[in-house]
Symmetry: C2
Subunit: 350 residues, 2 copies
């Protein structure tokens, strides 16, 4: 509550000067609106330090009379996607997409049918697929995400994301977005912040649904990105082909590097959930003035998943929240969001 | 005037329904405001097909009742910088910056003093400097644009651009911006377009002054970009170092590739002045619906420069406007802007 006193002070002053011009019933209506304001904010969040930190930050940085005021053009907030905005277990959604694209790729290149790792993926043996090496996984990603025109990729990815369902909830992956995080993004935008996704996932992939799912337009999605190659079709019409050439690995140090490349401003707020977001939060926190750094902790086995060794749980393949990361968060004033305690509900459909 | 009839028709309908509610004097005031509207637009432009094409395009795409209406989120206009927004002769401004940074670089690395191409640059012999090979030029660019932190680069570039002057006009380079193009950008923005710079120049360099000079924020500057490397200073504070590793050569085919990488939408309008902009204009024109592609032709030796072989003039080292480009423009419905005939004035200070 450190900063909120100040922000509320401003509201009170505004109220007093308005009161001179208003009759008592009108004044009462306004007072009650203001009182409701705070309780209506972030409705899927429980009262607690995480919710309060968000509200304090937004008020302190958007109130022109606050010593922490941030000019609108500098109000940039960045969000990791997998595990921060939507479910990342048991497998990253985009990796599922790549696996499911393999039959179509093999149909076009039958010579791959009996070659590993394609053979394993075609077998549908999930246990064997989980054991694929990083190199084999990369081979599948390259075969399914590159070599086609941007338009063909966009069409296929869009079609898939509109129908593919998560094995546990039997719902669209895009339904498995965290309602509390949607509320944070809306709240930030309502206060002049531009929200960006900064994801280790494929930039082109996430751009296909970012507007519809998160209200974030494609130009505000920074992600792992390959090069494209400009060329012409047989009618002389130009098009871009997705090349197997990595330009930006938007994980770990790649996140601040990608932010510099595609945004060119240091964020004021950053949200993540794993070691892959560490550098983005450090970079955000290294700027002057008010900053907000938050980490989502997956500690709710019943409603979602429980992972992250910060609380003595076993390490996992994806989205690790290590003890070291937890310690850094505590040392640097980052705020850990407990899904179990801070979120009244997790999904909009609940 | 093909499309303007429609757009004006809409205005007239709006006027008639308003008239029902208005007294005659108020109606007269509105009528006169509307009549002034068109003549007040783009005041530094002469009446003619170039000015009219811009007005027609903006009206057709921003009028909700127009068959060419474009939703606001898709209103993206891209502008080359050198030769399109400001003077590029006799030498690109950023190359001048790099030359002028050489003494500071040599002061830190004295072993470069007697080595070419640094020796030639230190000699100040402009004729010899003009003869440097592309490879030697690249060596100077790398030495002066990389190896330092982003913050140090930003500070130095900003300081330079605030004081450096053009040899012909003895004015700041940032004063040598084309007033008619500033008006086009303002007019587009007033009608819901987001304006982007897509430059062969350095992205980090142009971002230092784009807001102040063009009203374009850093996140809307796409340019030639190198990688950065995340690290920590002795106090553990993170920072990014500019690396000698090219990520995007934002010339020629690199322009649509850069647009895809950093914007992720095809522009609706694109402005250039040389073969380096050809692919950006082709890519823009290959989309559906209303599109506007324009090329600035430097044909005014008295007020600026005259170059570009489209009219039988000698080819030059920078910003070439070839006959082939001119033919493509004519074939594809791109509009050539004659600086001599289409612009009443070139610079704001005139």
């Amino acid at each position: 509550m450190r900063r909120s006193g100040h922000a509320f002070g401003i509201n009170r002053r505004g109220l007093i000067s308005s009161a001179v011009l208003l009759s008592t019933p009108a004044l009462l209506r306004i007072t009650s609106t203001l009182a409701q304001d705070a309780s209506n904010l972030l409705p899927s969040w429980s009262d607690g330090p995480a919710r309060q930190a968000i509200i304090d930050f937004v008020r302190a940085t958007s109130d022109q009379a606050s010593p922490h005021f941030v000019p609108p053009e500098e109000r940039i907030a960045t969000f990791d996607q997998d595990g921060t905005l939507w479910v990342e277990h048991p497998v990253y959604t985009q990796v599922v997409y790549c696996f499911e694209r393999v039959p179509a790729v093999v149909a076009q290149k039958p010579e791959l049918k009996d070659r590993e790792p394609f053979k394993t993926v075609l077998s549908g043996d999930h246990e064997a697929m989980a054991k694929l090496s990083l190199h084999e996984l990369e081979e599948i990603l390259l075969a399914t995400l590159t070599g086609m025109s941007v338009e063909v990729f966009d069409t296929e990815a869009k079609k898939w994301i509109e129908t593919a369902k998560h094995p546990r909830w039997k719902r669209l992956y895009t339904d498995l977005v965290y309602q509390p995080m949607l509320e944070v993004m809306q709240y930030l935008r309502a206060n002049g912040y531009r929200t960006y996704i900064v994801t280790g996932g494929g930039q082109d992939f996430v751009r296909m649904y970012s507007q519809q799912v998160y209200g974030i337009p494609p130009e505000q999605v920074v992600g792992t990105a390959g090069g494209t190659k400009y060329g012409y079709d047989k009618d002389g019409r130009p098009f871009l082909t997705k090349e197997p050439k990595l330009l930006l690995n938007d994980n770990d140090a790649g996140k601040p590097e990608g932010i510099h490349l595609e945004i060119g401003r240091r964020p004021r707020a950053a949200f993540g959930n794993s070691t892959g977001d560490r550098q983005m939060l450090e970079y955000t926190g290294a700027g002057d003035g008010a900053r907000l750094m938050m980490l989502v902790l997956h500690d709710d086995a019943q409603r979602e998943y429980q992972y992250g060794p910060a609380r003595g749980l076993p390490d996992t393949k994806v989205g690790t929240f290590t003890q070291q990361l937890y310690d850094e968060a505590m040392n640097d004033g980052w705020i850990v969001i407990s899904m179990k305690n801070d979120w009244k509900r997790i999904f909009a459909f609940e």
